[in-house]
Assembly symmetry: C2
């Protein structure tokens, strides 16, 4: 059977070839596949279900802070995209242009949104008249298009799914507070739900978003020691407001410009989940985000009573997302499949277990087997899922901390990039020349200036001039 | 204040100018606005919240039938769109073409999806090998683009939001059963949740979907007597499978073509809600779909204890979606606003009510006022919302039935189109010539051949030849 063959072939080990391991997991865990549309991917049911859970949980958290969802057009007329100078410079080279519609050439060409700041500004210009109309706290869930040359599943594709929040405020202080609030929300979500520890910090000017005054970021470390930017929050100050003429009449009857923010998270997060938690048996999903949390595998399922008991236990576990694998495959086959798909907990139960009123729980994250009484299985499953969630975060944090190197001079820095995969903490003078030099000579980029600064030394790791900030550096996806 | 002025201006009455009334409601209930992108609209928070509720409820019903969500690329290469002959003829004239990306002309131009049959076929061709891979039951939530010349909010715009389900089956019978299952699901949803009665039936060949063997539809009647196609479900037979080469090896080891369906519902439903239930005070939303079900308006809210009590009652009503309007506007102003926004139930409570341990409930749908004790307010609100939901459906059904005319000959038919807004039931010979003639001479189109056929006469209302079916006719949006 074609289906069997697909899984029986082992995946490449991550030690042998991490990139190939990643591609294998993505395919064999049935998360995505390529389409006839160059550079675009298809989210298959198991991949999209992870995104739905991410959406559900993020959306809940957004709304708890007063954010409301809207939907803007997917097209941006060329003249609108060009309104803010830095923004158009950043995005124009990588957009796709619609030039014909309804069998006619368009009078003005339009790009498919690479991001929607310009559309929200155009909207806010009309919506906002008075201080009473502020703040505006909007978000949209949609796809965006950036014409990338090289693509990788979930990490970089010409079209990807994301959310983009766009807010407008009366004062600079409020905008800054919202920018930080959303970054903290992202960090909490990623740590609590995806079990991925992150570094919170500010991007250097070189790495910030096109048109932003400040970009904050959360940076995660993948298993191979490369960094992944996992969410960003931008403070635009009043730059866009001035370019688009977004003004309000304040209580003092004066006309003032609004201050704006935007913040986004994407389907990259699925890539992060794979590369932080996965192992050589496939995907490993944290319980809180797993579409299926528990897979019940009946052993000798043709014996009378076995399948009935399996479905009975499914009912008992109705507080969890449970699947009974009653297909006609062998138990060993089902075990591998459950492992490949990253289901956090497996319940094995055969006739002898049932006779003894017990089942064997097997943890996906560390392989541990625990025999439990069926009388307390719901409590034990709940406890175990919590423990798995917690220990996956701890394990990822340990990996990150043991893959973070301090470099006090340029030789140490170069040695770290060459020989110690992971983050490098090093001091920086604040000049882009050093950042450019480091990138060119080592391929490491500045990931962020962390909010939690440490004083490692007095001088820049690159030029030896007085240091202004500690920076996390690393090779990145 | 700009905001005040916006609402104080009364809306056009629907008897005076239904089209203007519709536009006024859409704007003053804050559901949408136009953007700088010609023909595209912005879904504002209150409009999008209705769509979110529609999505949530439909998605739950889809998943209960085994459907899973996926996401396909938004682009279709020209060669892929052209694969099925009828399909490309139907859609090519109204697509938007992307011809440049990343500063380069594309080697092959791509359209923005007007619908995704071709993409799903391309996907299924690779996914489906054996009978074990069937059925495939996929859905996606996305936006699609059709380059319309004339547009109207929610009813017709160049980009709109929808869901599109696409399934593949081993047999023709299974595909037909799924096509009907989804039509029934749509009809139940629209009646139970949106309180809109529908006629279920089959489209004539002239009106069916490009590439389909059969298109089933649910047709609703708006307040002005025009019909609105509210959801469609298509059986493609094996036409697309043959065009795309989608075959599977059956249990008998023979290679067979799959049979496919697709089905969709769109943001048109928001237009239907407005035009079926709205009145001259604005929007009227059925409780089950209303983002806010109950609006508490404190009277003399500056008196000590009034606002506290209002928020206390909100807590008591935590099973419902409740808002306290504690803004500094006058109660009368708040009443109009709640009416304009279509909130199903208002609770008025001032110091005297509170002293008497009571509140006044006001129904949006019929203006009825009911004084209830605060001790039983949660029970009474629950009962009333159920009653409102039920009576809104009954009212809409009565309106539809009293606006349905039987025409036995062409004179009666023309008289009905001219003088009796609504559905016309009449017999048809089955020839497209008559359908074309009726459309040309009266502007009425065939809405559907209802599943519940009636024998009104032996002959076609147009040509007098033997009749084959009873058809619902009408002017339509």
């Amino acid at each position: 059977m074609a289906e069997d063959k697909k899984l029986v072939e082992a995946i490449t080990s991550m030690e042998e070839d991490f990139a190939q391991w990643y591609t294998d997991v993505v395919k064999k865990a049935d998360l995505m596949c390529y389409s006839s549309v160059k550079g675009c991917m298809i989210f298959k049911p198991d991949g999209y279900a992870i995104w739905e859970n991410i959406q559900h949980e993020l959306d809940r958290r957004f709304k708890a802070t007063g954010v409301k969802n809207v939907y803007m057009p997917m097209f941006i007329p060329e003249s609108l995209l060009q309104r803010e100078k830095d923004h158009v410079e950043g995005f124009a080279p990588e957009v796709a242009w619609v030039t014909e519609g309804g069998l006619q050439p368009l009078q003005e060409k339009m790009c498919v949104r690479p991001t929607s700041e310009t559309l929200f500004c155009d909207y806010y210009k009309n919506e906002i008249q008075s201080y009473r109309d502020l703040p505006q706290l909007c978000n949209q869930w949609c796809s965006v298009v950036r014409w990338e040359k090289e693509t990788r599943p979930f990490l970089r594709s010409r079209e990807f799914l994301w959310q983009e929040g766009h807010t407008a405020h009366a004062t600079a202080e409020e905008a800054e507070a919202r920018t930080q609030q959303m970054l903290n929300l992202y960090a909490d979500f990623v740590e609590e739900v995806l079990a991925i520890p992150v570094i919170k910090g500010r991007k250097t000017d070189k790495e910030k978003f096109a048109g932003a005054e400040a970009t904050y970021t959360i940076e995660a470390l993948m298993h191979d020691g490369k960094a992944l930017q996992s969410g960003t929050s931008h403070n635009f100050g009043d730059g866009f407001a001035k370019a688009f003429g977004i003004q309000y009449t304040d209580k003092d009857n004066k006309l003032k410009y609004v201050h704006q923010t935007s913040w986004g998270m994407t389907t990259r997060l699925i890539g992060a989940l794979i590369m932080v938690h996965g192992d050589n048996s496939g995907l490993v999903l944290p319980p809180r985000i797993a579409p299926v949390q528990v897979c019940i595998v009946p052993v000798m399922q043709k014996k009378p009573g076995v399948l009935d008991k399996a479905f009975e236990i499914k009912e008992v576990l109705s507080n969890f997302r449970v699947k009974v694998d009653d297909s006609d495959k062998s138990p060993g086959w089902k075990f591998s499949e459950q492992e490949m798909r990253g289901i956090p907990l497996r319940i094995e139960m055969g006739p002898r277990d049932i006779e003894a009123n017990q089942a064997v729980l097997v943890r996906r994250d560390n392989g541990e087997k625990i025999t439990v009484s069926l009388d307390e299985i719901d409590v034990r499953v709940g406890e175990l899922l919590e423990i798995i969630q917690k220990e996956m975060l701890e394990r990822a944090r340990k990996h990150r901390d043991s893959h973070t190197t301090v470099a006090l001079n340029y030789d140490e820095f170069k040695d770290a990039v060459a020989n110690k995969p992971g983050f490098i903490k090093a001091m920086w003078c604040g000049n882009q020349e050093c950042e450019d030099k480091i990138k060119e000579e080592t391929t490491a980029t500045s990931r962020c200036m962390p909010f939690e600064q440490e004083h490692l030394s007095d001088v820049c790791v690159c030029c030896g001039r007085p240091a202004k900030a500690m920076v996390y550096w690393g090779k990145a996806y």
